[in-house]
């Protein structure tokens, strides 16, 4: 039971990170119907931005942890948003209205460009930081080991819950959210009503990238290491999460992220960490066979 609880905590932490990244995939898919394969790499860039900000802050001698964390987050979100915005402008917008595969190919190209760019400017070796958060809470003292939730795990889970709530409210209740949903459903009509479709799409990329930056910063604080390849692996997992939850659906992305994190943690905990990725993808395949639109995807029932 203790072991189960511990894996549950680990899985939720991991799943939160995947969920935050998955939102970027799902929102972009919703609005322009393409998979932004470079999104995982924007996440990776944000983790490096966080690393740089972190080192700079250490160097200038700011030691108040909350202040430092906020500064790192803001910096990472700004840089990441800039990348997300730029990727859309140079790689996707010019291809809008061209054949369906064109932006996909362009996205894969952007992904390769970003990976290689970071590899060149930051080096291929793993970069590490010393742990920022050390404390934690012992939930249960067991005979073999204690069930613990560390400070950073609490931070990750709480931040994710808060962000996802705020984000869902933005999409459901604000005029920006309505503009995004209208572009999702009928871009031509949205334009007829005075919505600047290009700007709305740009903002969607920026929002997705900003959330990925939160994930990137948390990833750095949690694992303490980053390299130029983390975007690929986390990106594929988050993409899987988005598909599992039902691509285009926000709650789906969150649910999918959590499920992927849990599957991974339990598989690694009870079977072997060797095949945890295989388990993730096997479950994805099974879900898609029986529920092709994902867990919370919308089958089209409306008359339009």
């Amino acid at each position: 039971m203790d072991y189960f609880l511990q894996q549950l905590i680990n899985g939720l932490t991991l799943g939160s990170i995947y969920g935050l990244i998955a939102i970027g995939y799902t929102m972009v898919y919703g609005i322009i119907g393409m998979i932004n394969f470079a999104h995982g790499d924007v996440f990776m860039v944000s983790a490096f931005s966080a690393l740089i900000a972190f080192l700079v802050i250490l160097a200038v001698g700011i030691t108040a942890v909350p202040l430092a964390l906020v500064m790192v987050l803001i910096f990472a979100m700004l840089i990441s948003s800039l990348y997300g915005w730029t990727v859309e402008r140079i790689a996707y917008r010019p291809l809008r209205g061209s054949f369906r595969l064109a932006p996909l190919i362009s996205a894969i190209g952007m992904s390769i460009v970003l990976q290689n760019y970071i590899q060149i400017v930051q080096g291929a070796r793993v970069k590490a930081i010393q742990p920022v958060f050390t404390g934690g809470i012992t939930l249960h003292e067991g005979d073999l080991f204690d069930v613990r939730i560390s400070t950073i795990q609490i931070l990750i889970i709480v931040t994710t819950i808060v962000l996802m709530t705020v984000f869902s409210l933005i999409v459901a209740k604000t005029s920006l959210g309505r503009a995004q949903r209208s572009c999702e459903q009928d871009q031509k009509m949205a334009a007829l009503l005075g919505i600047d479709v290009d700007r709305t799409i740009s903002l969607t990329f920026v929002m997705g990238a900003a959330l990925a930056a939160v994930a990137g910063t948390m990833f750095l604080m949690y694992y303490g290491v980053v390299d130029f390849f983390i975007g690929f692996i986390a990106g594929v997992k988050a993409f899987t999460a988005a598909v599992l939850g039902g691509i285009g659906s926000l709650p789906g992305a969150m649910l999918g992220g959590l499920l992927i994190g849990l599957i991974e943690a339990f598989w690694a905990g009870y079977f072997s960490s060797e095949y945890k990725d295989v388990a993730v993808f096997a479950i994805l395949a099974i879900v898609l066979i029986f529920l092709p639109t994902g867990l919370l995807g919308k089958p089209e029932v409306e008359k339009v």
């Binding site: 005029s175 031509k188 334009a191 007829l192 009503l193 029932v301 409306e302």
Partner: protein, 241 residues
């Protein structure tokens, strides 16, 4: 003579290399109801969309209140207080009736939202009952009412309507046309109306145009066109009045 509110001069529009408008001249003066009639495929909807820059005119010029809007992006044209209830209604299917109306008011600052809402509900009480239903599940007629109501929510000075009577029961059509007359007379709303229902449209309109194959072939006062033999033969005989 004062300048027309909307002036379309010599406009040609293409879909790829297929020509849909071949030099159209149309104008709408402030305070008028003007109707455009023509057979299926004549290019009526194309003209309505060309006014909004989707697609853009290849040649010719479109001005609104003296401003050249021929190459203006669609959303900027909408922000000049021109609204359109387009062909096919284009209701946002996964938004509620209320949200669709909020979308209509997207370009306003929101200060008149509540009173505008009450006004469109007075025209279409049906929509009030359906306020929280998703647009995609409304009946065809209810969607048509919503499309018109949504256009009105932007507080337009010029309203373009593409076949508002399509799919509606005769009684509702009559009611919508009455509403248009009221809006025109009391609020000074200018209306540019595309209709298959030529009899009602021409009776309502101050002036009318007849379009054939991407060209305006006839124009005149509403009742004057209604009296013409060619118009009666082509658009009214065996018609639905």
């Amino acid at each position: 003579m004062s300048q027309a509110m909307l002036e379309v001069s010599g406009v040609t529009t293409y879909y790829g290399n297929i020509v849909a408008l071949r030099g159209v001249d149309v104008h709408v003066n402030q305070g008028e109801i003007v109707t455009l009639i023509g057979a299926n495929g004549a290019g009526k909807s194309t003209l309505m969309m060309t006014i909004f820059g989707k697609p853009q005119a290849r040649d010719g010029r479109i001005t609104y209140m003296g401003e050249d809007i021929t190459r203006m992006p669609t959303h900027k044209i909408a922000r000049l207080s021109i609204a359109q209830s387009p062909e096919g209604r284009r209701i946002f299917p996964r938004m509620t009736v209320f949200e669709n109306l909020q979308m209509g008011a997207a370009i306003t600052d929101g200060t008149h939202f509540q009173s505008d809402l009450e006004k469109v509900f007075a025209f279409f009480p049906r929509l009030k009952e359906r306020m929280h239903q998703r647009g995609g599940t409304l009946s065809g007629g209810e969607q048509q009412m919503l499309a018109i109501a949504r256009a009105l929510m932007s507080r337009p000075k010029l309203l373009l309507l593409d076949e508002p009577s399509l799919g509606l029961a005769p009684l509702i059509v009559k009611q919508i046309f009455e509403s248009l007359r009221t809006l025109n007379q009391e609020d000074g709303l200018t209306v540019f109306l595309v209709e298959q229902n030529a009899y009602h449209a021409l009776k309502l309109a101050h002036r009318g145009y007849v379009m054939v194959n991407g060209l305006i072939t006839m124009t005149g006062g509403g009742r004057e066109l209604l009296a013409r033999e060619e118009v009666r033969a082509a658009y009214l005989e065996g018609g639905r009045h």
